[in-house]
Amino acid sequence: MNTVARRRRGGGGLLRVIVILIVLVVLAWLATHVFRGGGGDPSATAPPPTPEQVRQGEYLARIGDCAACHTVPGGKQFAGGLPIASPIGTIYTTNITPDPTTGSGDYTYGQFERAVRRGINAAGHTLYPAMPYPSYAHVSDQDIQALYAYFMHGVQPVQQANKAEDISWPLSMRWPLVYWRWLFAPKVAPVEGGGDPALAHGQYLVEGLGHCGACHTPRAFTLQEKALGPQDGSAYLSGGESDNWVAPSLRGELASGLGSVGEEELVELLKTGRNERSAVFGGMSDVIEHSTQYMSDEDLAAIAHFLKSLPAAREEAPLTYDPATRDALHGGNVSAPGAQLYVDNCATCHRTDGHGYGQVFPALAGNPVLNGPDPGSAIRLVLHGGTMPSGRDAPTQFSMPAFRERLTDQQVADVLSFVRASWGNRGGAVSAQQVARLRSLPPEGKTTMTGYDPRAQQP
């Protein structure tokens, strides 16, 4: 009896909680419909575009790297369909060609503006924040108009239906995203930079269309970027994560950031995907291939200038080259843990002095990627290899082989601990557990092929 009574009483309490929750949820749902808002005017139209506007829009679409997500490798340009993994399931990018039935061909200027800068589509639904509208909120009216001109008149329409997201109910409900947007999306307003025009222009590109913070700024538990501009504090561009790659800090840290990288070196890296000391890998490869290699020298210089103006978020001592490892390896001394592995697997390209070969094999000595707290990118490179993107006037795509079948977790940890402690590097030790965690994470074992290899497009 007692048991039953207690159960009934307990059941009554739970029911009350459920009812209250349902009421709250319904109210919350209603609220997102009552207070639709979001700003902008969906019915706004644009005057007929000029050819110059279409050209400028194409250039801006490159800066915004729209193709990286809205074009599937080997697929039709801007027809969408790229899967993007999110914590709640897979979403697919949409067709943004001007096809009137499956694309955005019937978008008014106002609808386009709201989608890009406010994250609200023509149907009034809030977009998943995989679309970096919190960054695009900073793009100027003039540039949005040029982008609209390009996407309506400069892009080939492609009839290709959008794919439904692969998210189970209740997480598939979109209306809670409205709250995310209310809470975290900034007001639509172009970046205000005073003083140095190059600095202001760089900030406009980095914060706005460039949306660098999407990967390079850390995110909160609720997935919003912790800072959307330098005014929000030193979290801005202080290092984030993307697709299991470590996106390093773009601030002035002397060891793990851009403190030791000159503006010209940065420009070269963004333009060609490589420079005398370094090379691009991981998620940044797409950015070089689709976006930064097309930027004007002036825009690239402005970006580098702005990034170099960001003070360090963490105090770090500068790295100075230490010849001890070079001398030991040169003299045949491989007694240091990991040294023999380094000589057998790495030294032929990266050399015993850790300097590599300019524009071919990156230097390990003094490389910020090896001097940050998180060795994740280096672990992934050793396990799965990597291929340089092609850049402007730099068509060669050098690859690093995958060592996952040759080296155990412990060996990868040993060789990386060696690399992170040699030639003056101070990255700290790597554990086998860290390697084991990353061994099977996607994109796991991606074949190291050039972009023009016909086999790269085959399933």
């Binding site: 390209c349 071919v360 060669t396 040759r406």
Partner: protein, 592 residues
Amino acid sequence: MTTRMKPVDAVIVGFGWTGAIHGLELANAGLNVLALERGAYRDTSPDFSYPHNADELAYGIRGELFQPLARETVTVRHALTDTAVPYRQYGSFLFGNNVGGAGIHWNGQHYRPSPEDLEFQSHISKRYGQKFMPADMQIQDYGVSYTELEPFLEQFEYLCGTSGRAGNLNGEIKDGGNPFEGPRQKDYPNPPVADTYGAKLFADAARALGMHPFPQPSDNASRPYTNPHGVRLGPCNLCGYCERFGCFMYSKASPQTTLLPVLMRKPNFALRTNSHVIKINLDSTGKRATGVTYIDAQGQQVEQPADLVIVSAFQMHNVRLMLLSGIGTPYDPATGKGVIGRNYAYQMMSSIGVFFDQDVAINPFIGGGSGGVQIVDDFNSDHFDHATHGFVGGAYIYGGQTGGRPIQQLIVPSGTPGWGAAWKKAAKENYLHATTVATHGSVMAYRDRYLDLDPTYKDAFGLPLLRITFDWHDNEYKMSQFVTDRAQEIVKQMKPKATSLTLRKPGDHYDIRQYQTTHTTGGVIQGASPETSALNRFQQSWDVHNLFVTGASAFPQNLGYNPTGLIGGLTYWSAKAIRETYLKNPGPLVQA
């Protein structure tokens, strides 16, 4: 049933060095270009990645980069009265396979011809008289002079990033280079690869004897290099896995490391792999090619129409395709008439193992395919007076090693058993104290040395195999003996404790099981007259004006150098004629 594909402006048969060069030159001229390759696609990564590339058993012995002979090979006989039998195991020469062709597994020796090599018949008869040559020797001129070809030889060197030291810069003889080379307008794009120790010992000895050693011009880049197309090569690390292997350092010049990053991205260029061309098609007049027929991966026949046909397969495959297509008159050794299959030649080498005491330390595993080796060219081509010697041609002498791989490159002194305890002892004692000196010599063309279709043996598609009729002539035995004697003088000066010698002497037949060089030449030669050559000086068919045939099949006889430098130069020379003259007014570039 034959499928008919959409016509293209130009079709390229075979996607190795010359196919890729023509591909980019013609695509840059605005043509819609299609390359057909019988093999598969492959590239530095992932196909030649370290450490998988350094597998001597897979690549050196089993020949994973070579064409499978079970599907198609050649047959061989020594004389007209013999019956030819198939070449079933790789020995004497190595057919490349897949994209890049033999440009993947070569060593990277990058020579120019000596000026007299290109006008060899005229030069020899002028200097020594027509009677100096035996009656059955039929050497010829290329129809293009060194001066005409020089800019194109340079163009190919700058494509590859050749590492070397000029010996003749605009007529000025430079110290440390090859004083016998023709004048070059520009120095090599890269400095020479550093000498291996064996090469240094060789060069010191040769210099002491008054000879003129110089670093071998090499397409193993001595430093990172960006070529005029913006394609960048890595530096050679002398890993010892070059010939027969793909290069994981991006430093050995190949289509993949010099051209494909630009060419493959061209929207007006397409590559179709697994497409084995079996015939060049002609129109009803027989004077114009209409395209080619190939067999695709599914075994289906496909017709590919094209306005321009470039045949750029390996030398022997070029000859066979011409014979299978019925273009040009097949060569007849009985009458000496006909041109397709005419003047087949190989090369002749000798080699000396040089063994030192324990106090001379040579790390043989440090070796580039071509870099790090020293050359003496004093006895090549017509660099010396042949009058008293009774032969024409010559050889360069090289000293040093290209690697110390255990199966194919481990040398032991003469008299050592081939296996067992005594071999092991000798191997252990000598491995770190030995180097090689060798001669690499020319072979002339002769009336009874030629290529035709085999009457018996067929390939996997039922088409007749190519038949080689070849053996040595006295001229070559004499040449090899003479230059080997000079090499022996250098070796003596190196003061070794022991040597071993491989030399082909009168009575020794050509042995196809032995590897010497892979350089086979002739069969679709270029020249001044349609009576004696298949191609005019621009490598255009005399008979079918929209057909060009590239590569060493165009060499009228075999020179003492490795052929690739000349092949590349002739290809650029031909491509320029097509771009600047032929396309404006398609027709014969030379009136017969």
